[in-house]
């Protein structure tokens, strides 16, 4: 203890933070994120987010001006592995003792300019410095096969390095930095109405969930009109259905089932068209505003219900057929296993977590908006941890989502719809917001300044939290398993690197 204080002067609060995290995790709470802000020259803050029944709590440690190093949390808390790399990239703090401090979102070398989210200043342009990337080692029997960042097919840009060290099982490394967009800094100075629009673009396929998590942080649990909560839930569930259909289609495609892939593509198109008919945007953009929603669904209730029914019938049949196709099941069964103990230790989120025994669902354990009274059930978890388990979870979630969407439409027809948003009293301060995206829980750590504008905003997508687990799930033939495993994770790179 005294030794660590000597080695890292000024980091007493980090030590205290690590101890409190330890205790809370031992008490059953879940480590959800580690985020950084500021500039080491003027002072920095590390914030851990801990999820538990009823809420997400931020715990912070201040580091005084001039402190650039602190004892890494990763050796005790492996789930902090990527977060400390991210903080190193954006803030410039060095976690001593980190096992592999490679660049994650912004390769840079010592002394290079950094964005310093939450600190004054706004660098005009920062180029990723590729010289900061580790040099690929080549040797007898050691190969590194790069895939990406421009990939074969219509994909988001990301680079996967497949390392084949001799006879060992090959290892996949992920380099997602190519599409880093500097969004944390972009949030700063925006008012909350523009902020929610940017939140929709952090991870475009989960626009509604990100808008919700952001809005929740702004609202600080202020009561909203009932109708607003229902419209939000309706859109969030349609988004979930569309995302899960996307995964099913990609799995079918990976197995060469062209007709099945086309069927799920058709269903997904119909869901996006329904969403477009509800609000004008196929991705539900512009619906969520801080304090409520921008409008009611533009379709009458029975039209929405009928379309939901038609969709559900069509999807059901094709899902059953898919689960009855032995050649398909052979490809997903035992593929990409994520061990339940690893998933639990990491706090794996969404269908990835639920396929490996982690039940947590923000709609159930930290309910918000209409979920407070729609009271969704926890989707039964699977423990096999393979691509099939993740798929089964998604299939069950589609059913729950239809149920919730129906329920929301029904309630909406009966409730007062004169007011759709609450006037919010914005005051300076820090807050946390969360929402269950199709990929898992999204969390926003937000700070509003005295001028009512955003002075710090750190989105944490489930894609970021889960993607670090992806390399751990390769056991067999990487090249043949890859498409199934990638599809079954169902993550978006935009949400990872922001």
């Amino acid at each position: 203890m005294s030794v660590s204080v000597l080695r890292w002067p000024g980091t007493e609060q980090v030590t205290a933070l690590a101890e409190e995290l330890d205790q809370r995790i031992a008490g059953g709470q879940r480590f959800a994120a580690l985020l950084g802000r500021g500039n080491p020259a003027t002072g920095t803050v590390l914030s851990a987010l801990v999820a538990h029944d009823g809420g997400v709590t931020p715990l912070s440690a201040q580091l005084p001006a001039g402190v650039t190093h602190y004892p890494s949390l990763t050796p005790q808390l492996p789930a902090a592995f990527w977060y400390e790399r991210l903080i190193h990239d954006l803030v410039g703090l060095v976690p001593d003792g980190h096992p592999r401090l490679d660049p994650l979102v912004l390769p840079h070398r010592e002394g290079g300019e950094l964005p310093h989210p939450g600190a004054a200043g706004r660098p005009a342009r920062i180029e990723p410095d590729e010289r900061a990337l580790p040099v690929e080692v080549h040797g007898p029997g050691l190969f590194t096969i790069p895939h990406g960042p421009v990939r074969s097919g219509v994909f988001e840009s990301v680079e996967y390095l497949v390392e084949t060290p001799g006879e060992d099982i090959p290892h996949v490394r992920i380099r997602p930095h190519a599409k880093h967009r500097g969004l944390q800094k972009r949030f700063e100075g925006l008012d909350v109405d523009d902020g929610v629009l940017l939140a929709e673009r952090v991870e475009g396929v989960a626009s509604v969930a990100h808008a919700l998590a952001f809005a929740h942080a702004v609202e600080r649990r202020a009561p909203l009109p009932q109708a607003a909560g229902l419209v939000r839930a309706l859109h969030a569930e349609c988004e979930r259905i569309a995302n899960h259909l996307d995964v099913l289609g990609k799995l079918a495609d990976a197995a060469g089932l062209a007709v099945a892939a086309a069927r799920f593509g058709l269903h997904k198109e119909r869901v996006l068209r329904l969403v477009g008919a509800l609000c004008g945007s196929r991705f539900g953009r512009g619906v969520v505003v801080p304090g409520g929603v921008s409008g009611l669904p533009r379709l009458p209730a029975d039209a929405v219900s009928n379309e939901l029914d038609r969709l559900q019938r069509g999807i059901d049949g094709d899902v059953r057929a898919l689960c009855d196709t032995p050649s398909f099941l052979d490809r997903v069964r035992t593929t990409g296993p994520l061990a339940p103990d690893l998933a639990a230790a990491h706090g794996a989120l969404g269908p990835v977590g639920r396929g490996s025994g982690c039940a947590d669902d923000a709609r159930v354990t930290r309910p918000y908006d209409a979920y407070r009274w729609l009271a969704p059930p926890l989707v039964p978890v699977r423990r096999a941890g393979d691509a099939q388990a993740r798929m089964q979870v998604r299939i069950a979630e589609i059913e729950t989502s239809f149920h919730l969407a129906h329920h929301a439409v029904g309630d909406l027809a009966d409730c007062d719809t004169d007011t759709l948003a609450t006037e919010l009293e914005l005051s300076a301060g820090r807050s946390v917001g969360w929402a269950e995206a199709p990929q898992g829980e999204v969390v926003y750590l937000l700070e509003i300044g005295a001028d009512g504008r955003i002075c710090y905003c750190a989105p944490r997508s489930a894609s970021l939290h889960n993607l670090v687990l992806f390399p751990a799930t390769f056991v067999g033939d990487i090249l043949t398993d890859f498409p199934f495993n990638e599809a079954s994770f169902g993550l978006s790179i935009a949400g990872v690197v922001m």
Binding site: G280, G286, A321
Partner: protein, 256 residues
Amino acid sequence: MPWVLRGLRDGVVTTSYPRRADPYADGFPGTVKPLGHDPILDGRTVEDLCPTGAIRTDGGMLRVDSGRCILCGRCVVQRPDLFGWTPGSETARLTRDALVVPELPDTDDAVEQLRAELAARTRMLRRSVHVRHVDAGSDGSEEWEVLALLNPVYDVHRLGIFFTASPRHADVLLVTGAGSHGMTEPLRRTLEATPRPVVVIAAGVDAASGGLVAPGYAVAGGIATLLDVDVWVPGAPPSPFSLLHALLLATGRIQR
């Protein structure tokens, strides 16, 4: 039921566009346009309404730059007297300026010239065209809309449009995203590996101008500073019909 039969379940779902009009395409709220003139307001201008600076008031004339408009609808909600939705999916244009509504003076001539030039370049592509998509910093929704072109509703294979993994076989580069600095090099390499003639499409507002993502330290503010763009598609993200329109325009298979 075997998959072959399941495939027949909903009958013909494929659009006849561009052979025949498609009601979904025609009804889609594709752009926002000004309805009136710049009003005199005290202090605030209507330009301030817009989160991306898409609204311009030059000399009493109100214009919306679709290349910047993220279709958030705020101007339409707050000033329905001044702004309205325009339905329609044929929103792709051959110049950046042509994305401004109402049209800027002289846009027409410039477009005509480009059309002729593009037609000469793409004479070979009338029957089949291979498209290489590159994500240069998208938010991920653009990729969904690009992929939708392969679903049975749009089924672009029927039009001889194919996506290719290799830039060496590509006739068209379909680029999404605001132009993240980390994609500058990979994008340049892809372009270099693509045989000429090549047509470059900037797909979506982020690719056209950076949208809401720009300005920022990590993005170029659109891809036009990274390579020469031939076709510009508005939308955030661009709808599949708008993307299809862009592909047909790029290959000279429709005129506007």
